[in-house]
């Protein structure tokens, strides 16, 4: 750090005919001063809680005498919480379920977003703004509301979907079938996420210089070829970014299954990893195990994210490095 700053100041001094001493003093303090608010907030609201969670994960509330109901005291238990939470088969079932969920949500959501973005980017599209807003709108609906809304649509007795099937005379789908309920949950995430990703991709598409398309057209390329050969390759960085965002969102899946849970017998309180953490912390009042599982999960996601990022980066931005 210090090395960098001095070198910077040094070159700055060499380039400009300003008193080198004065400049050095100014640049040594100022950056830190400007960083201070951000650093303070970062420390108070991110770093401190993480450290506190780490501390909690090594402790537990235990009964230590004192009457029939006992008096609980916080004691140090080392890695006990980790051992217990990581040896719980339910955690791995939940992780497996999350992986399946991710495999469904990410490709479907990004695929649809890309398709819509490309369609909207075609020349001579009518009602472009209205359509874009229409597809984007679900993203503006809070996850809790969206899940409640879909919950109503899924429950047979209150669902217009079932009514529609009945009218046509088809057997109505069971949205809470134990084998396919994951699709019902994924559907809510896709519904809410397509719009946002589409807008990001569409914005990137509008930034591509139109001359490229002109020359492609002169070379006889069809719109489809332009989309496949020019637009998508140029969108790669955006696809990587939205992909990583979606992966992170998958790791954090919680709202949709948690809201649907009381409506059915098929979603348990540890259906997804974060639900298990929530149950531990707020239903069982065991914030210590919850902290341990959180730390383990956060560590695993960090490693995974870095891995994905390095692979993706090499492929997507290879020529830049």
């Amino acid at each position: 750090m210090t090395d960098l700053t001095t070198t910077d100041a040094g070159t700055g001094g060499a380039h400009r005919p300003v008193g080198p001493a004065r400049r050095r003093r100014a640049s040594s303090g100022a950056p830190y001063l400007f960083m201070l608010p951000a650093m303070a907030l970062f420390a108070a609201f991110l770093l401190a809680p993480i450290i506190y969670a780490g501390w909690l994960s090594l402790r537990a509330s235990r009964r230590t005498g004192g009457g029939i109901l006992g008096q609980r005291t916080e004691v140090f238990v080392g890695l006990d919480n980790y051992a217990r939470s990581l040896s719980d088969p339910e955690l791995y079932t939940a992780l497996g379920r999350m992986a399946v969920y991710g495999l469904i949500v990410v490709p479907v959501m990004l695929g649809l977003a890309l398709l819509f973005a490309l369609l909207l980017d075609l020349p001579n599209v009518r009602l472009r703004t209205a359509t874009r807003v229409g597809i984007f709108l679900p993203y503006a609906v809070p996850g809790v509301i969206a899940s409640l809304l879909w919950g109503f649509l899924y429950l047979p007795r209150v669902s217009p979907i079932r009514e529609a099937f009945d009218t046509v005379g088809l057997p109505p789908p069971d949205f809470f079938d134990p084998d396919t309920v994951i699709l019902s949950v994924a559907n809510i995430a896709v519904w809410g996420g397509v719009g946002f990703n589409m807008v990001v991709m569409f914005t990137a598409l509008r930034a591509i210089p139109p001359e490229l398309y002109d020359s492609a057209r002169i070379d006889g390329a069809s719109e489809r070829q332009i989309a496949l050969r020019i637009k998508i390759p140029l969108l790669t960085p955006v696809l990587v970014m939205t992909g990583i965002f979606s992966l992170i969102a998958t790791l954090q899946v919680f709202t949709e299954p948690q809201i649907l849970r009381p409506l059915t017998n098929v979603i348990s309180s540890s259906w997804m990893p974060l639900q298990k953490i929530y149950t531990d912390a707020f239903v069982l009042n065991d914030i210590y195990s919850a902290a341990a599982t959180s730390i383990a999960l956060a560590g695993a996601s960090l490693v995974l994210s870095l891995l994905v990022l390095s692979v993706m980066q090499r492929r997507a931005f290879g020529e830049n490095q």
């Binding site: 109901l69 006992g70 609980r72 429950l155 007795r157 009381p262 309180s269 707020f282 069982l284 009042n285």
Partner: protein, 442 residues
Amino acid sequence: MHRRLLMSAAGATATALALAACNGGGDEPDANETTGATAAGDADAPAELAFWTWATNIEQVIEIWNEQNPEQQVSVDRQAQGDELITRVLTAAEAGNEPCLVHTEYQALPVLVSNGVVRDLTGDVADVRDAFPEAAWGLTSFGDQTFAVPQDIAPMMLYYREDLFQQYGLEVPSTWDDFAALAAQVRQVAPERYLTTFSSGDPGWFAGLAQQAGAEWWTNEGEAWSVGMADEATTRVAEFWGDLVAQDLIDDQPMYTPEWNAAMNDGTLLAWPSAVWGAGVLQGVAPDTAGLWRAAPMPQWSDGEDATGYWGGSATAITEGCEYPAQAAKFVKWLNTSPEALEAMITLGGLYPAASEGQTGPALEEPPVMLPNQPEFFALAAEIAGTARGFTWGPNVNVAYNAYNEAFQGAIESGGSFTDAIRSMQDATVADLETQGYEVVE
């Protein structure tokens, strides 16, 4: 740690003050408690008491108190309800800014006690003990210590659709055998309807059914606990409902969902084993069916028996961190035993008071809105309340309840056995007690 130091210091000061004022008030045998189990201090001294509660219209009840006691003002804070409120109280106590007064469901009280959040009120409230039926007082007492004053109790009773029962020629079941036969009859005469549903989402409901059968889920023997969730009585209840579900004689979808609301409204479900507050719930979920329901005592396990269980109910507790325990105790006693407060809670809050005196009187002469056809509703309720069996709630009800949800969800989805489900509740509860450091005996 910090908080505890501060608190014992405050407790010591209070005790010193009390001694200096020759206030005595120390007929409490447990004198080695620093904070003193009898509220040291003057119950009439000025105080500001925060009350975390979720009771309906409680503000209007408290207005009566605030008018009469300008020096001891109580303010209501609606933080959350039920278990969620408990989580918040625990967190607030950890941070040292808990309120003076806490509304808690009976089964959540042990968690508040073992975390040292609520005061031992044994000495403070001994003078109102006789105002409550023994079973109700037992819900807030552990061993010989009392930690809260019962507010409302919820004896279970059976609600049924009088109109549909008449239409199909069904008879109100007096035993559970009748109930099972009736469930089969309903499927025959009206295949699109069910007598009722078994809900994997409501452990408190199942606990009430088990209480009725005579179960004791937690028993303390000295300082050790024994857990009996797979005892004979509970097994009987589990087998009974498991059979009905397996044969599709009753529905198996959870209660309190939009689906259930619709089924209660359109007559898909004909009956609901619920509690005295069930009439209020019906008003919320099935307003179109007013006048069509009727309440009856619960079906019995054997002819001539007369018992029911509790589903829910709540109490008022005072926190350890409360600066004005004497004033708080005075308020808690007023709230739960004075005729004016009881009447206000019944008429404004729709509560069924735990105090014996509250279970009769002019406020209960009018039937609930949903059962205008049953003017004797509350007289019946009082009679049923007299037959209620509670049981001792143990230190980890939340674990048992979560295990109930998981086990019965699984059993219903996979067609598994209900007796396996209670066994897995039992195992989870015992394992947790042991992990937490409680002594468990078989």
